[in-house]
């Protein structure tokens, strides 16, 4: 740091802003679609709601070429190592979106086969609850992800079910659509 002047610090911070701006409008997403949320994902991605308006219209089906992992649908314990593998193969910088309540918390599943939230396996940046979430809900999450990318923030922590640390408070004890709408209204 001693070598660099304050002027070069100024330059690098502006550079990161420019990188963030470029990245947030060229999201190459990897859709990890396992269940019924895939239908809602498709309707959001297609022409009517059109995530291409946000620069996220181009899914890549190789984790090495993508920078946002969309986990869309229930993840079973049998599938969990595959999901972890896909996440590990993605190049930095990378972000993860938990799409639908099954990926956020396990949803209404509480049984031998289902992972109770993918944040116990991989770090999650954006949670989009809903069963399935409406396209408006998804786009809201996508815009929040864009803010996060602009700031250069990435989630690095996993959720620990014993300490209950690492998951948004709204997802800890059930979270209804009504609560979510209130949350959106209060934050806008």
């Amino acid at each position: 740091m001693s070598f660099m002047s304050s002027a070069s610090n100024f330059f690098t911070s502006k550079m990161s802003d420019a990188m963030g701006w470029a990245r947030k409008y060229s999201i190459f997403q990897y859709p990890f679609v396992t269940a019924c949320c895939g239908m809602e994902y498709m309707s959001t991605a297609a022409g009517h709601y059109d995530v291409d308006r946000f620069g996220a219209g181009f899914p890549r089906f190789s984790p090495r070429q993508s920078d946002v992992l969309f986990v869309v649908g229930t993840i079973s314990h049998k599938m969990a190592p595959v999901l972890k593998d896909v996440y590990d193969k993605m190049c930095e910088p990378k972000w993860v979106v938990a799409f639908g309540v099954c990926t956020c918390t396990g949803g209404f599943y509480d049984n031998y086969s289902t992972v109770m939230g993918i944040d116990t396996i991989i770090p999650v940046d954006i949670y989009i609850p809903g069963c399935p979430p409406r396209p408006e809900n998804v786009i809201d999450g996508l815009m929040k992800l864009q803010d996060k990318i602009q700031k250069g923030e990435q989630s690095r922590t996993l959720y620990d079910p014993r300490t209950k640390i690492g998951r948004p408070a709204q997802l800890q004890e059930g979270y209804s659509v009504v609560q979510h709408i209130k949350h959106i209204e209060s934050s806008s």
Binding site: K78, D110, N111, Y112, S113, T120, D160, P161, R162
Partner: protein
């Protein structure tokens, strides 16, 4: 003469229970005669059950009704359909708790192969003579059989992630 009546006529001493309601016919038999009954259903020209639609099982561990004799904890349930006559039969086989094993039907109906693997995976009922009896839904590391009534409903066996 309905399919149930034909089976009753042939295997009267090995039938534990029958039920019929508006054409839906059910017969509960002893496990020892499963092979014979299955062959009878498949090869008798008047029955001609050429389609095994489903195989599943029921665990009566905590069942209060006591419909089946106490020594039989499980029932394996077969659903047969004749595409020629469009008639159906539900065949139930009472299974012992100590040695949960019945004969395979894979040599008569190829569709029994994966169904029987599923029943093995979920209930731990063995199928004697099955060509490839291994888990189909759960992973090989999974301990126990998830749909048995004495499997704890909140027991988790994750491959990765926290053990809770």
């Amino acid at each position: 003469m309905t399919p149930l009546q034909r089976v009753q006529e042939k295997f009267s001493q090995d039938i534990l229970e029958t039920h019929a309601f508006r054409g839906d016919e059910t017969v509960l038999i002893r496990p020892s005669v499963l092979g014979e009954v299955a062959k009878f259903l498949k090869t008798t020209p008047e029955l001609d059950f050429n389609f095994l639609m489903d195989v599943t099982a029921v665990d009566y561990l905590f069942f209060a009704g006591g419909r089946i004799p106490k020594e039989f904890r499980f029932e394996v349930v077969y659903h047969f359909l004749s595409l020629k006559y469009n008639h159906r039969l539900r065949l139930k086989v009472a299974v012992d708790e100590k040695n949960p094993e019945v004969d395979t039907l894979t040599d008569l109906w190829a569709s029994a192969n994966w169904y029987e693997r599923e029943v093995w995976d979920m209930f731990g009922i063995k199928f004697k003579g099955h060509p490839n009896l291994k888990r189909i839904l759960m992973y090989e590391e999974f301990q126990g059989h998830a749909l048995r009534k004495d499997y704890p409903f909140n027991k988790r066996q994750p491959l990765i992630g926290p053990q809770n």
